[in-house]
Symmetry: C2
Subunit: 191 residues, 2 copies
């Protein structure tokens, strides 16, 4: 591995935020999934979660621009299992939803360990996830259309989280397990 | 037209921001264009600009979720023409670009009349636009991937603009020409 590549990967690892994640609740269009994984990488998320539709989830290599190599996807059979898993990690469960209980997405403290749930194009986040959530958030819409594309919504929320975490000086310190970093450096350094 | 629909359209018109726009510099993938038009509608943009690749621009109805009905697209032959047009409207020309001259996208004042230029997947914003720009902005990337999907980037920037304009109380006052509003109410009220 060249010294440049070594230092790029180490740098990336130093910015990873193990206590910030996404959960894709049956988001199945591959170009949306890919754009989301790419954004996750860009704000320092190293692992995302997905509840899979029957056919499984596809990342379109093109739209993801290689990011699927740097962001792990943990798959769950159903939404309850995913939420249990994340609650065990002490994450606050934040669901995107259009309801009276939802607050503006900028009002949430994303410096807390957080899992943000995104829903599918047609149905949104499932009722089960909404029932088990700690917080509901919404991105303000002041036009005629009712909702944003899911990858655009993910981007707006993740860049708010990145802004807050940058202000709080949460980047630049490696918080990942040493063994994981060594493995990744080994695998990705010798492609 | 039902009173509900009338009041929804009037409400939308009261939030439109004629002095905020986008210019798509040869962005040609229809699902990206559609997601961008949908986001533009959501933050109160009523007209966007596009420099077209030879084949013309296609909005995919599905991803746009009907927003193309509420956001006008002005087409330009080339980028110089587009910039001249926008400068005549006293807009600051803001290009997205990865360069030493680019500032963090949150450092710009979007309450000023602003046109934000987005580039295509492969080449980014054209050299001509960069040369004629007033400002260059970039969204911070702290992972391995070099750039975001263009519709995600558009969303992050537009929601920063929306946040600033909301704080400055710029929404809720109709700034569009009366004749345009009447025409739109007539056409869209009787589909
Ligand atoms: C197209 S939307 C789902 C629309 C669905 N018909 C509904 O009413 O929930 C797909 C996903 O994008 C995200 N999303 C879209 N617009 C959003 C907004 N304004 N605020 C928060 N999340 C949004 C959410 O995760 C949502 O589940
Ligand atoms: C995939 S990117 C273009 C990448 C191109 N290879 C380059 O180097 O410019 C497509 C468009 O998305 C927008 N974009 C993507 N990532 C961005 C970022 N981090 N900051 C600002 N704009 C971005 C810009 O408008 C860009 O022209």
């Amino acid at each position: 591995m060249t010294p440049e590549r070594f230092s790029r990967i180490t740098d990336m690892l130093n910015h990873r935020q193990p206590d910030l994640t996404l959960c894709l609740d049956k988001v199945h269009k591959s170009n949306n999934v890919s754009a989301i994984v790419r954004t996750a990488d860009a704000v320092g998320i190293h692992q995302i979660h997905a509840v899979m539709p029957d056919r499984g989830m596809q990342v379109s290599g093109n739209t993801a621009s290689g990011s699927q190599q740097w962001v792990q996807t943990v798959k769950h059979r159903n939404i309850t299992q995913a939420i249990e898993h994340l609650k065990l990690k002490n994450m606050q469960i934040i669901v995107t939803n259009f309801s009276d209980k939802a607050v503006d997405f900028r009002e949430v403290d994303y410096c807390q360990p957080s899992a943000i749930f995104l829903g599918c194009e047609r149905d949104g986040v499932s009722a089960e996830a909404i029932a088990l959530a700690d917080k509901q958030i919404t991105i303000p819409m002041i036009g005629m259309v009712q909702s944003l594309n899911v990858s655009v919504a993910a981007g707006a929320i993740l860049y708010e989280a990145q802004r807050q975490r940058q202000l709080a000086d949460m980047y630049g310190i490696n918080k990942l397990p040493e063994a994981y970093c060594q493995k990744l450096l080994f695998e990705q350094g010798h492609p």
